[in-house]
């Protein structure tokens, strides 16, 4: 379970400028299996997602994941919560898919033979086995995002947070990634502009100007977001 308790995030203003509030007094209790977070650019939804695994810490308030505070138990939280970024180039840090998956598995302290076997298994599961040895530079955007997902899921997180994972993908790869996310057993928090994906969620949070302005089932949440955007 993910709990936000009176969470605010404020960024210091540059050069004497006033501080900039990003999120303001957010209270949430997230238990659903699929949660979509929608909102305009700059609304604070990515910050909300990053709070879940401690990439961003609250300026005030607490974020608690299965009893662990992201501020004081950051490492333990990150073992539970996987995070997928919008741009896979930011996430894939090793020269080949095989090496990148192996990097993820280092945290598990497996012996070499087991690590190698797991890497092969994961690459095959994600249909990347034939690309194991190629340079990541030669992968398509969709293949890179699939690799980024594979790298995160390799460590078997209990919760997966995805920050607009399909924004940079074409329709074919968007479908592949959507189907993969839908098939996962983990709790998934999906930040997205794709209202079709949001409509499949169990719960939709609409974020606007640093506040959760609507929170409910998918059809209602998506309609509220459409209504909000129509008046902008």
């Amino acid at each position: 379970m993910i709990t936000f308790k009176a969470v605010s995030v404020v960024v210091e203003g540059a050069g004497g400028a006033p501080d900039v509030p990003i999120l303001d007094d957010v209270d949430l209790r997230l238990t659903e299996r699929r949660i979509a977070v929608v909102g305009a650019n700059g609304s604070g939804k990515s910050t909300l997602a990053r709070l879940v695994n401690g990439l961003v810490l609250p300026t005030s308030g607490r974020v608690v994941v299965d009893g662990l505070d992201t501020a004081s138990d950051g490492a333990a939280v990150r073992r539970k919560v996987g995070f997928v970024f919008t741009d896979p180039d930011a996430q894939v840090v090793m020269p080949t898919p095989q090496e990148d998956i192996a990097l993820s598995l280092r945290r598990l302290r497996l012996d070499r033979a087991e690590r190698d076997a797991r890497v092969r298994g994961i690459l095959d599961r994600f249909d990347l086995g034939h690309l194991a040895e190629v340079s990541v530079h030669s992968l398509s955007g969709g293949q890179k995002q699939l690799l980024a997902l594979a790298g995160v899921l390799a460590t078997e997180p209990e919760i997966l947070v995805c920050d607009e994972p399909t924004t940079l993908l074409d329709l074919r790869w968007r479908r592949v990634v959507d189907e993969l996310l839908d098939s996962l057993d983990q709790q998934v928090v999906l930040v997205t502009h794709d209202l079709e994906a949001a409509a499949r969620a169990d719960r939709v949070l609409v974020v606007d100007a640093g506040k959760v302005v609507a929170d409910g089932g998918a059809p209602v949440g998506v309609e509220q977001y459409r209504a909000l955007m129509a008046v902008r």
């Binding site: 990150r78 996430q91 020269p95 993820s104 530079h137």
Partner: protein, 215 residues
């Protein structure tokens, strides 16, 4: 226009720097233990310093070249990666020729190329994961003085990965400047390249933190 008249430009793989990237293979050098390869590289480094004379330097260069051939490292990519080193060796060699004569010039140039080529062979035949294992193991004694071997090993592996990423960033910025007709303005290249490099470093840090690496 006839097909023969059409000039085609093949897109090339991004420049990966003189140390290159891992190249999959099953050669004896790919199968050799990483400790042995790093030990041999260290030995070559010592030999380059201790043994003097152009003939010895030529022999060491020949050994590094044979290693590259045995490892079946792609010739074109290797030469491309070594280009800045070859230019540096040429400039240093010319200076030494002028100052101390042709023997020293050959020795300095050949030694530099031998070392970088041999290091490139090690990175080309060793997956980053194996390199991390060895680095982590060899740095273990430093734990007693508060150094975390896993973090240092990761930093070294990332440094190797960063070279092609930086080249890619510069190429993107150059294209952006060209698209605005600013290809002759150094500020249009240097400032955005620096900003993007810092942004990329931050993104990589976030990516590692998100995977729980370095915690």
């Amino acid at each position: 226009m006839s097909a023969a008249g059409v000039r085609r430009r093949r897109s090339r793989r991004p420049w990966t720097g003189p140390l290159g990237l891992y190249v999959h293979g099953t050669t004896p050098l790919h199968r050799a233990p990483v400790d042995v390869k790093l030990g041999a590289l260290a030995l070559l480094g010592v030999a380059v310093i201790v043994l003097r004379g152009p003939a010895t330097a030529a022999v060491l260069l020949a050994i590094a070249t044979v290693a590259a051939v045995v490892a079946r490292v792609p010739a074109r990519a290797t030469v491309r990666g070594l280009l800045p080193v070859l230019v540096t060796a040429g400039v240093l060699g010319a200076y030494q020729w002028w100052q101390r004569g042709p023997a020293v010039a050959v020795e300095v140039g050949a030694d530099l190329v031998s070392l970088v080529l041999a290091a490139g062979v090690v990175t080309a035949t060793t997956p980053a994961d194996r390199m991390l294992d060895v680095l982590e193991r060899s740095l273990r004694p430093l734990r007693h003085i508060g150094v975390r071997p896993d973090v240092v090993a990761l930093a070294v592996a990332l440094m190797l990965r960063t070279i092609p990423a930086l080249v890619q960033t510069v190429a993107e910025v150059r294209d952006a400047a060209r698209a605005r007709g600013l290809e002759r303005d150094p500020r249009a290249l240097l400032v955005p390249a620096a900003v993007r490099t810092v942004a990329r470093a931050r993104a990589t840090g976030d990516a590692l933190a998100a995977r729980g690496l370095g915690d």
